[in-house]
Amino acid sequence: MIEIFGVPLPSLMGQLTLGLVNGSFYAVLSLGLAVIFGMLHIINFCHGACYMLGALFTWMAMEYFGLGYWWALLLVPLSVAAIGIVLERLLLQRLYKLDYLYALLLTFGIALMIEGGFRYLFGATGKPYSIPDELTGALDLGFMFLPKYRAWVIGASLTVCLFTWYMIEKTRLGAYLRAATENPKLTQAFGINVPVMVMLTYGFGVGLAGLAGVLAAPTTQVSPLMGSNMIILVFAVVVIGGMGSILGSVITGLGLGVVEGLTKVFYPEASAVIVFVIMAIVLWLRPAGLFGKGA
């Protein structure tokens, strides 16, 4: 059997794809954070809770309504986005004129309430969610077996990230978004309804978190606590990538997933902290992050 640095190739590739899967979640989540930060200038602390809602709604759709994975993939991100829009209209929009710390505290409080509420309802134990029939099994690539669901998560996440990047950088709507990010008042004075764009941007950002939750449901135990575990890592990813850069957050997310996966192979003891070690080094050498613009 082929070995690389004493590790059998299939197990190395296995960890690599697992790393890419985790990296895909980091990428989609930090992309949502970056989009929200760019437009609203707030750090969305309830992003992890929205990710959890995505996974839990997926499980609930199956449990209570008999709606399978593909329906969940369509409906759950939309309902998480709708919840985000309601939060923005009712609460967040009242804080834009104040220091950003208020929005941070508000979203943190919302995250605690959502998690606490669902923990009360469902308990903290994880609930299994099975992989849809179409995506069970593995592809034989010759040098390794690639589970179909892992391939799907990576492919779907990359497509979503690419789509988001294209929308923002190459379309007219994206030009509105970039303009409103740079100079919201003037953009509104040109006749563009900036408050509605801000609302939809927030909905889109948390909808992405919901989508990541749907994709994650079959890969993990669905539990009300899965968001808070994830979000700490994602914030580290955002710090490493630099706040507000679309492409940067995607590349950093995927890259760190891979680094984490490889650490599990070569030095498992460090795999839980490697992302934070990298964060410390990046903060030391490049405080604005790898893709950040200035400090």
Binding site: A179, A189, F190, G191, V194, P195
Partner: protein, 235 residues
């Protein structure tokens, strides 16, 4: 004269937070007229334009635009009444290319100029259309800030210090463009520091001091009011 009145600002007060900047501005602009707001720095001319666009803090009084009350409208609703605003700092977006800047403002009226027409009027913009907005020269940025509001079909143009800091040849070019726009029937409010630029273009001039209009001078009165202008504006 009611029907030909395009903009009427009456007893307009405006605030930035606690500070009271406009103290009852009163003036009217007739359809197709070009007026200039003249005055010293800090007199409240820029604030007047910003207040018309809804970009200041609290406003009281009345702003009638083409027969519609605008004092309580949000900025995007005011723009949609057919108003084009060119801010003092030009407001070119660095995250957009020249052409994206040009195409950004949505249509707010019919009969805006086509992109071809604008490229003919401002040939530099065509050459630089793929450049990042803020990588262009000051003159090009000013042309772009003008061009992008002409595309939208706005009939009332609020132009803030468009000649500021530009080379004489470019200021001359801008004066020609304002003349063309006057011929095409645009209603124009020029806020100017540069009296020599504004004087030949404006049908009427309003002298602004301490957030109020203190004098109105028609084009034909320029000669006789020379001494007064010298005293108030230092020109």
């Amino acid at each position: 004269m009611q029907s030909t009145e395009y903009l009427r600002v009456s007893s307009l007060h405006a605030f930035y937070g606690e500070s009271h900047v406009l103290h009852g501005m009163d003036f009217t602009v007739r359809r197709g007229e070009c007026v200039s707001l003249l005055g010293r720095n800090g007199a409240g001319r820029t604030t007047t334009l910003r207040a018309i666009m809804g970009l200041t803090g609290k406003r009281t009084g009345s702003i009638m635009i083409n027969g519609r009350e605008a004092v309580n409208l949000a900025p995007h609703k005011i723009a949609q009444l057919g108003v084009g605003y060119c801010p003092e700092e030009r407001g070119i977006y660095s995250s957009l290319t020249c052409e994206e800047n040009l195409m950004l403002p949505p249509k707010v009226g019919s009969g805006g100029m086509s992109v071809e027409e604008l490229y003919e009027m401002f040939p530099n913009l065509k050459e630089r259309r793929h450049s990042q907005g803020t990588k262009m020269s000051g003159g090009e940025q000013q042309m772009l800030a003008m061009a992008r509001i002409l595309r939208t079909g706005a009939r009332l143009l609020l132009l803030d210090e468009i000649s500021e800091g530009l080379a004489p040849v470019i200021v001359q070019k801008l004066a020609e463009i304002i003349q063309t726009l006057k011929q095409r029937g645009y209603t124009i409010v020029l806020v100017e520091q540069n009296f020599r630029f504004a004087a030949p273009l404006a049908d009427r001039m309003f002298i602004v001091e301490h957030g109020q209009v203190v004098a109105e001078i028609a084009q034909h009165e320029l000669q006789e009011k020379q001494a007064f202008l010298q005293e108030t504006l230092g020109v």
